[in-house]
Amino acid sequence: MSEAISVTGDSVLRLARGVKMRQDDVRQRTVLLAPERTVALDETGIAILSRLNGEASLDTIAAGLARSYNAPHSVILKDATTFLQDLADRRFLEAVT
């Protein structure tokens, strides 16, 4: 049985197999495709997911985003954790250990 993922700053994550981020040209947006699901992504979602490479910890990613967007690290980390925990609960993510 697979383990449920609890997302923290230390988590190293990547999109699970069968979960794909792609451009939806017809509707001019970016979507996340997963079994029987389509999630339209906003700019923040795209920024977080495109950095989930299975190597960097979430904390490192949040630090990078804080610099690029000139926003407080703690706020970004908190928002990213909530966003990713929701995706993890839907089994869209894989934890790299």
Partner: protein, 376 residues
Amino acid sequence: MSETGHQGQGGDTIDPPMAMLAELTHRCPLACPYCSNPLQLKQAKDELSTEQWIDVFDQAAKMGVLHLHLSGGEPASRRDLVELTQAASERDLYTNLITSGVGLTEQRMNSLDDAGLDHVQLSLQGADAQSADVVGGYKGGFERKMHVAEWTNSCGIPLTVNAVCHRRNMDDLDTMIDLAVTLQARRLEIATVQFNGWAVRNRAQLMPTSEQVAATTAKVEAVRERLKGVLVIDYVPADHFATYPKACMGGWGRIGINVDPTGLVLPCHAAETIPSLTFDNVKDKALPDIWYRGDAFNAFRGTEWMQEPCRSCERKHIDFGGCRCQAMAVAGDAAATDPVCAKSPLRDELRANAIAASAGDDTQPFVYRGRETVSS
């Protein structure tokens, strides 16, 4: 840029479809008593060719379809399944194989993996070989499914287990859930049997009791919480005991487009039960033309076609008046309010009939498609 921003009747814009159900073939080695395919199956000789299907996928991708469900019958009965999957995947469609597992081998699964298959949805007819093979009407089917799950996992392809539940297996739900977890499924779909197609013939054998429906709904809630992050459960409750109907297909001509084995394009896979509709074929017309301008798609699109009580109902943009095929079957009028709705004058009768059917004899054998003899 493909066609977008089409104006429909009443000035609403028609959005492009999100998902296509490609019924590659009606051939199937199983004979599930609840099969939703039409009573009159399409013949193998009339099926679209490989090139024709690929052209359909190409048009679908260009017009904005994101998800492609490769279904049937049993899609593995098509010898070109790998080629079709590859072509769909090259067009960036998210490919989902909806299979009974029969007709797949380890080698074929590996080829599907190489072809870019994104997801496998495996049907289970019961929680053990004994009961599952009786329901599927195919000996050895259950064992094959166990292997298919294993091969899917070793390829790394996400697996959904699909369980149709009905009176005869609803009490085994716990075992089904445990099995889905053991098989490392990411998702479990529990769909209560729907009475269209062949399922109508087995209504008395399959109709769940209202107690079973209530227990199942409560169980699903609890298990969702317990298995959060481990198994995602999608549940389609029995609408015969609901207050309001389901938004069938998420609304007619709104999200989904079906192509039958012969290339007929349908707004819902049971749409052929509505005699007033005429359907276009991909052999004669371009797919966008059929979706945006086809008579069958425009017949029940939006809300303009509605009668009372739907017309003035505040839920009309939520459930779109429910299922047109059920309205046809029960009310004899495809534009009527879905008879499962509390506001339908036919609802009490429908519920009384459902309760009567659910009191059927549990030893009564199923009626199998294409088989003269029945077994229990």
